[in-house]
Structure formats: structure tokens, C-alpha cells
Symmetry: C2
């Protein structure tokens, strides 16, 4: 398998964590989002959305979208499971995933920041404010959702890692990259810390990837 | 079951279609997004994201996020199936769903348009342009993804309805609500037309819901 990746991509970070927890290794191909290489025809041929991650199977089949890739990996390699079994619990995990996958992260990516500059002349500071705003909105939603539910345990759903934790971890790293604080979300911060203490997750961190700036 | 809904919500439209195809009826509760009622404490208690849809089971369990709700309904009520069986095919359907669920629709909702006005003084016309921009970006991605793959049939995945078709249908209605055109995407437009010719889907259309303006 081949993973199209870039150090800063939070969506690719999610997939790296899932691969690591499943004990899978893949070949990686860097797509430099800061240099605009996601718009190269060669990558458009892989993903017409011009977004990463994209996972290419050994026979050339392409899977895009971090959540679709993570569920695919979990279905192909069921151990250790990253989704619960019961429909209701699966729905809860998916809805937690989508707080960042749908409603936070897509609002802060490079293409959106570029379009804010194009459409409204947004400055670097305004683009940073914009990103932090949406990540904090998502962080608050996570904190309330986790605090309210008796299904929350040591992790987002009970006491074992699920896809929701990988999504929450990427969300928290996003907050940090956009110079926000986790102080208003102690329950989230506790789970994030627990996740980052897992060496497999820590090794997948954006700042530990090739090309990342010194921390 | 109780569904929190609003006529214009494209995410709730997706869930209405899934309910209709499964032959399920639910009680509905209107949350007037244009009047800001999603921020009422009573609704915040249902969904701290202050977004619809939210589905409340008879015992009070709450499920949010349209994609999580649709997969939940499909797992609880497997007939007719709205997801294929094979992991790779499921991954393809999910990735098609997420073109709109993650990368298009969250960029155009009321809270984003309000924040554009707040942060950049965006006019009504600029907010409409912003929304149309992202919906057309998504439309182009759908067209290319569907045209390239031999798995595309009469519908997004083969010749039977899947969740991808419900997502594509909501995307196309979004393009229309934002005064965009489907002309650049004939393959998408054909599938959309086929979906809308299904009376159950047509009846779920935003403009056919209580409170919608005359077409």
C-alpha cells in the first residue's frame, strides 16, 4: 500500500495513527501542500479533490477521505478493533469523529485559507484567527459531548481506543498548530494526553514527520 | 424516534431520504436555523454542536451527524441495504459521501456565512458566492470521481441506491439553492435526475417541507 501524505496534514495524521495501531506499514509519497503540489496533474489523477490522504492498494485501487480509509482499514484488519460492535455505539463513535472530520478540519485547510485571501483579502493573522475559531468551536463541542455522556471513559468511548480518539487527537494537534489552547476542555485534554502517551500515536505526530520544522 | 429538522438543512435532507427509503416514519421537531433557534439552550442540550439533524431514540438516546445517523439506520434496518458489503466498495461509497458531508457542505452552512460577515464584513452576495464556490468545487470532484471509475453505474455505485446517492442528491440541491448550475457535471446531473424521479426522495426535498418558501 502507498499513502500520499504531508507532514502538516491533520487528515493524514489520522490515517497514520490507524495504520500504526493496526501494525501496518506503507510506502509514503509526499505531496507538498505548501508548494501547491496537490494541484499537479499527477496527483489530480489520484484524487480529483486534490486533497490528502489518498491510500493506493497494491493493485492500484484508490481510497480517499480519512474517515473512509480508517473504516476500511478497520474492516480489512479487524484486530485490534477501532470501532465498537453495537450500532448505537458505532453511531456515537462516528458522530464524534465527524465533529472534526466534517465540521472543523475542512474549514481550516490550505484551500480555504487561500480562498479567504482571494475573496476577502484575509491577512495571515486573519487566516490564523479563522482556523483557530473553528477548531475551538469543535473543541467546545467535544468537551460538552464527552462530559455529558456516561459512555465516555478513559477514552472517548469506554476504556479502549477507537477512531473517535484518533480524530480527537488530530483535532487537539490542530488547535495547537493554530496557536489555540486546550485549557477550556479538560476532559478532551486528558484523553489527548493519554493518546499521546502511546508511542505509536506519538510517532505519527505531524511534527515528527519528514519535512516538519523543528518543534 | 424524533428528528430535529429544518426545511433548508441539506444534512437533514440526507437523513429524511434514508428514513424514507427504509420505510421509517419519525416525529419531527423544527429548529428554525434562520431565526437562530439552534442556539437555544433547549437544543444545545440535544446537540452541543448546535447543528441539525439530531435523531432521538424512543429511550432518549441522541445521535447527531447525518452520516453517522444514516449508517446507524442502515445497520439497524438492513433492508433495503444502502451500503455495499465488501470493504473496498464500502470505502468507495463513504469517500463519495464525504465529498459533500465533509468537504463541501460544512463550508456553506449558516454559521459559516454568519462568521464571514462577522470576520470580513461579507455581503449577502459574497456569502452566496462563497457557498456556490465550494459546492462547485465539490461538484467537479464528484463528476471526475464518477466518470473515472468503472464502479459507477446508473447510480454512484452500481445500479442500486446507496448513501452516496443521497449525499450527491443533497449536494445537487445545495448547488441549486446557491444559484449554481449542474451543466458542467452531466454524469452527476443524470444520477441526480434518476434519484429525484423516486417519489420517496422527491418528497424529502427541502422545498417540499413545512415552512419552505413557494418554489
Amino acid at each position: 500500500m502507498k499513502l500520499f501524505t504531508f507532514w502538516r496534514s491533520l487528515a493524514t495524521f489520522r490515517v497514520r495513527m490507524a495504520l500504526a495501531l493496526k501494525g501496518l506499514t506503507v510506502e509514503t509519497v509526499t505531496v507538498d501542500l505548501m508548494a501547491g503540489h496537490q494541484r499537479d496533474p499527477a496527483f489530480h489523477a489520484i484524487n480529483p479533490q486534490m486533497l490528502i490522504p489518498a491510500l493506493v492498494d497494491d493493485d492500484g485501487d484508490i481510497c480517499t477521505q480519512s474517515l473512509a480509509i480508517m473504516e476500511y482499514l478497520d474492516e480489512l484488519h479487524p484486530e485490534p478493533p477501532l470501532m465498537p460492535r453495537a450500532p448505537r455505539e458505532r453511531a456515537r463513535v462516528r458522530s464524534l469523529c465527524l465533529i472534526t472530520v466534517a465540521d472543523s478540519h475542512p474549514l481550516v485547510g490550505p484551500r480555504v485559507r487561500e480562498h479567504l485571501q482571494h475573496a476577502f483579502g484575509a491577512t495571515e493573522e486573519q487566516k490564523l484567527d479563522w482556523g483557530r475559531h473553528w477548531l475551538i468551536v469543535g473543541l467546545d463541542a467535544y468537551e460538552t459531548a464527552l462530559t455529558r455522556s456516561s459512555a465516555t471513559g478513559q477514552y472517548c468511548h469506554g476504556d479502549t481506543l477507537t477512531l473517535a480518539d484518533l480524530c480527537l487527537t488530530s483535532h487537539c494537534v490542530g488547535v495547537q498548530l493554530f496557536k489555540g489552547s486546550l485549557a477550556s476542555a479538560p476532559r478532551v485534554a486528558g484523553i489527548f494526553e493519554r493518546c499521546m502517551s502511546d508511542a505509536r500515536i506519538a510517532a505519527a505526530h505531524p511534527l515528527r514527520q519528514p519535512g516538519a520544522p523543528a518543534a
